[in-house]
């Protein structure tokens, strides 16, 4: 499919979407501090451009799978953000009926396949989704995301090999935010060029600037087109940054505040805003009204989550097996 022209509409959508995702994550952190959200919480602040650029390149029916930094991906794919907030708060109205939580968001309807806690566990799953599409001649593409820590897992290599051997319609994306929890990329291998992991499999691979959705979009469109037209997998190392810690209990001793401040200068939301302002695609008042709209939607999400009930105790026995009358489940 031809590359889309990055119009005013696209930029304004990017701005509003990315702002929503950012404010959603900030609000989730605030709720966590108040113990309205429990367990783990891995925030996407700073990485929004990767998702924004990817979604623009996707077509209906294309699938996405990622790890546990997964609150905003389903929102971007069309899931009601109120249901994501409800899931974070453990309420029965959440996308996993309150039983999944922060790390296990799913949506069958919007082709979002999770939401996975095991590092690198989602990589073979993503290739499997692509295998199913190829098997069924569905002409869909699967986007399989992973972090810079996950690329050190054996599952990546096993998956790359088979994906290339079977020429699967999959795009592998490493969201390299510089740190695998607290370990910098420089300390996880003898070289820091993660994209080169594709070379050993003769897989088309490249490093991409992940702070600008336009750059991400260009790379993703090319990779997705290749997959869809039978050209097989691509491995993209998208270089981004996370402004918050790995998760909520991260004291961030492994990096300086100056470094974070430096990367905040290339905040993807600011980059998009600057383009909008430079091209005079919007007035400050219109941008302010987008701001207000986003703020009010996030507040609505919180209210929905708070007003929703927790699951009943019987829910514990539901969704364990597909077969509802499985003999070992108590009524």
């Amino acid at each position: 499919m031809a590359k889309k022209k990055l119009s005013k509409e696209i930029y304004l959508k990017w701005y509003e979407d990315m702002l929503l995702w950012r404010k959603f994550e900030v609000m989730s952190a605030g709720l966590y501090i108040q113990q309205k959200i429990r367990g783990f919480l891995h925030l996407y602040n700073g990485q929004e451009a990767v998702l924004a650029g990817s979604i623009l390149a996707m077509e209906a029916g294309d699938k996405m799978i990622t790890a546990y930094r997964n609150h905003v991906q389903p929102i971007g794919l069309g899931v009601d953000p109120r249901k994501i907030m409800a899931e974070l708060m453990g309420k029965v109205t959440g996308t996993s009926r309150g039983k999944g939580g922060s790390m296990h968001m799913f949506s069958k309807e919007h082709n979002f396949y999770g939401g996975h806690g095991i590092v690198g566990g989602q990589i073979p799953l993503g290739a499997g989704l692509a295998f199913a599409d190829k098997y069924k001649d569905d002409n869909h593409v699967t986007l399989t995301y992973m972090g810079d820590g996950a690329v050190r897992q054996g599952s990546l290599h096993e998956t790359f090999n088979l994906a290339m051997l079977w020429n699967l319609p999959v795009v592998f994306i490493c969201e390299n935010n510089g740190y695998a929890m607290g370990t910098s990329v420089e300390r996880t291998a003898n070289h820091s060029e993660i994209w080169k992991l594709g070379l050993g499999y003769e897989m088309p691979c490249a490093a991409v600037d992940g702070m600008d959705p336009a750059v991400v979009y260009a790379a993703m469109q090319e990779a997705i087109d290749r997959a869809r037209s039978g050209g097989g997998p691509t491995f993209l190392e998208i270089r981004t940054y996370r402004y918050k810690g790995h998760s909520m209990s991260d004291a961030q001793l492994y990096r300086s505040k100056n470094e974070v401040a430096e990367y905040q200068k290339v905040d993807p939301i600011s980059i998009v805003k600057k383009v909008i302002e430079k091209k005079k695609w919007s007035t400050p008042d219109e941008l302010e009204s987008i701001n207000k709209r986003v703020k009010s939607l996030v507040a609505e999400c919180v209210k929905y989550g708070e007003d929703s009930p927790f699951p009943e105790s019987q829910e514990l026995w539901q969704d364990v097996y597909v077969q509802t009358d499985y003999p070992f489940i108590k009524e």
Binding site: M27, Q34, E306, S313
Partner: protein
Amino acid sequence: MAIVINMPRLSDTMTEGVVAKWHVKVGDNITEGSLLAEIETDKATMDFEAFPGQEGVLLHRGMDEGASAPVDTILAILGDKGEDISGLISGGNKSDPVTENIEPEKEVVSNAVIDVQEPAQVVDTPEIKSIDGRLKASHWQSPWLMRRVLIYLQ
């Protein structure tokens, strides 16, 4: 309207925190993202910033540097300049703008206890015959096969 900020639970295991360092003083204007203090927890010392909705003039600091307090006790109060907050300082935790009401967390635990009157019934599968008095690991195993294996092992 006064906004009470409580000692936050910065990690899942945290029960109390120490204010290692205040970064704001009474009279400062606080907005979303303002660094309020460095809080020392059981794991590490973490920055504590103001969250969406926590905005106003800092009217009261709940504790001094070096003091320790349990999670959910008053850390700071924001509001309009000159607002009377004497009632809040003595009292308990009050409204948080992020969420309308703080209801004491209804102990969901009592509802969630599974009503197990008896241990879950193991379904009796008719085919299993115990050769030597021991239970089969799974009803998939054919008793014939088990018998052959056991005889061989003898």
